[in-house]
Symmetry: C2
Subunit: 117 residues, 2 copies
Amino acid sequence: MNILPTTLYAAIAHETRLRCLLLLLEYEELCVCELTHTIGAAQPTISRHLALLREAELVSDRREGLWIYYRVNPALPSWVTQVLRETARGVAGLAPFADDLIALQAMPNRPGAPRCA
Amino acid sequence: MNILPTTLYAAIAHETRLRCLLLLLEYEELCVCELTHTIGAAQPTISRHLALLREAELVSDRREGLWIYYRVNPALPSWVTQVLRETARGVAGLAPFADDLIALQAMPNRPGAPRCA
DNA sequence: TCCATATATATCGCATACAGTATATTCTGT
DNA sequence: ACAGAATATACTGTATGCGATATATATGGA
């Protein structure tokens, strides 16, 4: 597959979307309610941002009953994956990204938890 | 120094700015007229985009007579540099980025040329 | 001092991104 | 068939990014 750099960077230029992506990078697969809870934004907001990530082909989704699970698109070119990894390294310990990783684990009643890495 | 990921990605989400940065990554130091000629946009357009890159602290500038030379900020955190390198790898051979590298060398009367790497 | 060159900034008009709210869709259990 | 839960989409108002054009600033030379 093929991703334009401007598409990638426009997508992750928004903090909410970057937080989603970095969470997915760590946790493999998460449903919308987990992301919504962790990030603390309104559900339609998260859903819309996920839709943008989906349209940019940065994430893929799969339905399982009521829940829709998102994950980082496994077919991403390696340079994109590397960019995401370097970003994760760059924001390690930085708010709000660092807190997200912790906040998710503290969430009660996660659908299929723990899926943590 | 410290750079917010959203600042970085908003900056390079625009093709013109990314082209500037990748050219600077290859050529160490370039003046505005070289970037203007290579990218083929209006001078105020290039200047404004360079100003944005400067405000984001992604590039530094230095005046030498009439010319103002830009370079990638040497104080960038390593993860940012890595992101730029991976991007360069990702767009290798891709228009318009690949052509830029060639177009610059074909430019006549470059101020202090060649500064090529 | 006047002019030309290189670069920067200001202004305007348009398109697009975003949050918030309301509503629609899809599935599960009864 | 119905109700409720999880998620998606539609709509609206506001703000911001962008290109185009005009103008300002800085430097060097006659």
